[in-house]
């Protein structure tokens, strides 16, 4: 295994629900993130997938210290960054940067592209001497495939894909080791998505970056990730390499999710078995007891309501080994093949 750059253990974020204006009384909590663990190696990509409200964006915000966890730790090279403040926090921020989802709200419309990409150097002046900055910004523009002459332009003069490149350039400015990307391509058109994903791929090898890539699009996550974690209601329910998760899923939620993804091949529709989940995701203020997925699970039995399944390799797979032997938080984990083979992106 490569050197671990980020290690998250038992990460929790609860937002208190209060009642009353003067005498606030806590009446409950939104359990947005409810015990998440993972590790990220240098130069590696961890994909986190899940549906809206599963807490994946809250995890992203905690990783870059925009939200403070209620409990748990985030260790960057062994140091817990969740309790840092002031100078120490600022130093850590240099190494973990974020790329945002919406290229239209993530760039300050009143600042030039040069000011936006150069802002990291204003905040961390020790990284680049003043005289050097313009050249550094132009280098960054070039690295992300934009014309360095456009340094004095404003964000609204660029298209969505180009703006996302500007956001990536800003994230790269401090030469971080980790980039947290929260749905970085979901706001872009299909033909532009591929350009940005290729760019992120290239930058990863060029700068030895580790990515935490958060998305709801399972195909994109598979394309970019070395390992994948599937989140449901604030927890990771299954995690493994891309092959383990996509070709040998053992958690019913992962199976349902994968079977629901429309694949771009009309031949798949005849012989494809869809697992259609019933009902809606429960509210994070009122998480079911035991296994949180049991209210929508077709396999649920009494045990699921009583016992919280641990995220671990199910013992019956551990003995046999093979790709099904990966972490899965299900009492009745079973391998299933839900992704149709050989569906093509076109004839190529």
């Amino acid at each position: 295994m490569t050197e671990t750059v980020l290690e998250v253990s038992d990460l929790v974020k609860h937002y208190p629900l209060t009642q009353g204006v003067v005498f606030r009384k806590q009446v409950g909590a939104v359990r947005a993130v409810d015990g998440v663990d993972f590790r990220l190696g240098r130069g590696e990509t961890l994909g986190i997938v899940g549906e809206s409200g599963c807490g994946k964006s809250t995890v992203a915000k905690m990783l870059v210290n925009l939200e403070r966890p209620t409990a748990g730790s985030i260790r960057y090279k062994g140091e817990d960054i969740t309790r840092l403040s002031g100078r120490a926090l600022k130093a850590v921020r240099r190494n973990i940067q974020m790329v945002f989802q919406d290229p239209y709200t993530s760039l300050n419309p009143r600042m030039t592209v040069g000011d936006i990409i150069g802002e990291p150097y204003d905040i961390h002046p020790e990284v680049a001497p003043k005289g050097d900055r313009r050249r550094k910004v132009q280098d960054l523009l070039d690295v992300v495939g934009l014309n360095p002459e456009y340094i004095n332009r404003y964000p609204h003069q660029f298209s969505g894909g180009q703006r996302q490149r500007i956001g990536i350039a800003r994230g790269l400015a401090l030469r971080p080791e980790v980039i947290v990307a929260d749905e970085p391509v979901s706001a872009l058109d299909v033909s532009v998505q591929a350009q940005v994903i290729n760019l992120m791929d290239r930058l990863q090898s060029e700068f030895d970056l580790a990515y935490v890539f958060i998305a709801h699009d399972l195909s994109i996550v598979r394309h970019i990730s070395d390992r994948v974690g599937v989140m449901y209601l604030g927890r990771i329910v299954e995690t493994g390499t891309d092959t383990e998760i996509y070709d040998h899923p053992t958690h019913p939620y992962t199976q349902a999710l994968l079977s629901a993804v429309p694949v771009p091949d009309p031949r798949a529709r005849e012989h494809r078995e869809r697992i259609i989940l019933t009902g809606d995701v429960p509210s994070p203020t009122n998480i079911p007891s035991g296994c949180r997925f049991r209210t929508r699970c077709w396999k649920a039995r009494e045990r699921c309501a009583l016992e919280v399944p641990a995220l671990a390799v199910p013992p019956w797979f551990a003995a046999a080994g093979g790709p099904a032997a990966h972490d899965s938080a299900c009492h009745f984990a079973e391998e299933a093949h839900v992704v149709p083979d050989g569906h093509g992106g076109g004839p190529g």
Binding site: P262, R267, D280, P347
Partner: protein
Amino acid sequence: MLLEVRDLHVEFHTRDGVAKAVNGVGYGVDAGETLAVLGESGSGKSVTAQAIMGILDVPPGRITGGEVVFQGRDLLTLKEDERRRIRGAEMAMIFQDALSSLNPVISVGDQLGEMFTVHRGMSRKDARAKAVELMDRVRIPAARERVRQYPHQFSGGMRQRIMIAMALALEPALIIADEPTTALDVTVQAQVMELLAELRREYHMGLILITHDLGVVADVADRIAVMYAGRIVESAPVHDIYKAPAHPYTRGLLDSIPRLDQKGQELYAIKGLPPNLMDIPPGCAFHPRCPLARDVCRTDEPPLYEVSATRGSACHFWRECLDD
């Protein structure tokens, strides 16, 4: 043909100039058929739909030419009150954002019932009963109790079902669904698409599905019309197009999506950006981004060549594209 759009042109007049959003679009849908209109933002796919429905904002929009023939009549020549009678009763639309398409201060039962009181002159009580029936039909659990609830009390998927129920209320011959599942999660998206397909079969309706999602199209469409810069660049039965696209843009789109069944190498990326609608390139609008482009593409606008009896491609070199 239930609906046939012929050579439709729509412009938008803005303070910076004229944006040519739709430039000679033609497509048709039969009863019981699903036509997917595929395109990226700015391709004109939604503007075409709005022109068909008659809900285009005029100004700034303006229909500058073409025909929309629905059940034998050209809708563009009808008076506004005649069109209003067709809207809702004969053709209905489903939007992407169900929350803002529903009135937040009226209960869903009353909103559904309104379709019957206004269009069919039913009493409130009968309309309420109809509303419950519709909610049952789009599989909203406990319809009888929930009919009194307000839109915000429903989840995203349930709201989209209510929108579908509303569109279905008067059993229209044609439904236009504009990115109906884009705002929904995958698992919910599957439920909603399944429901739509089923209802279409049951009522033998024509369905125009406007989307950018090649996966959704492959799942439900019978025919596909691919739009680029306000034109149809390829039109074909669904199986043909996925097997062998006859237009380089379609091919590029198909190649640029990552696959679910394997990790894959670097993605193919269509170079460049979609054109500015105020300054569409001459000749073939796709030529600046096209790997097959030659001199003729820069000067001559390709017509929709007949590839087969059911298939057309607006590429001078469609044979080459097909053989590739």
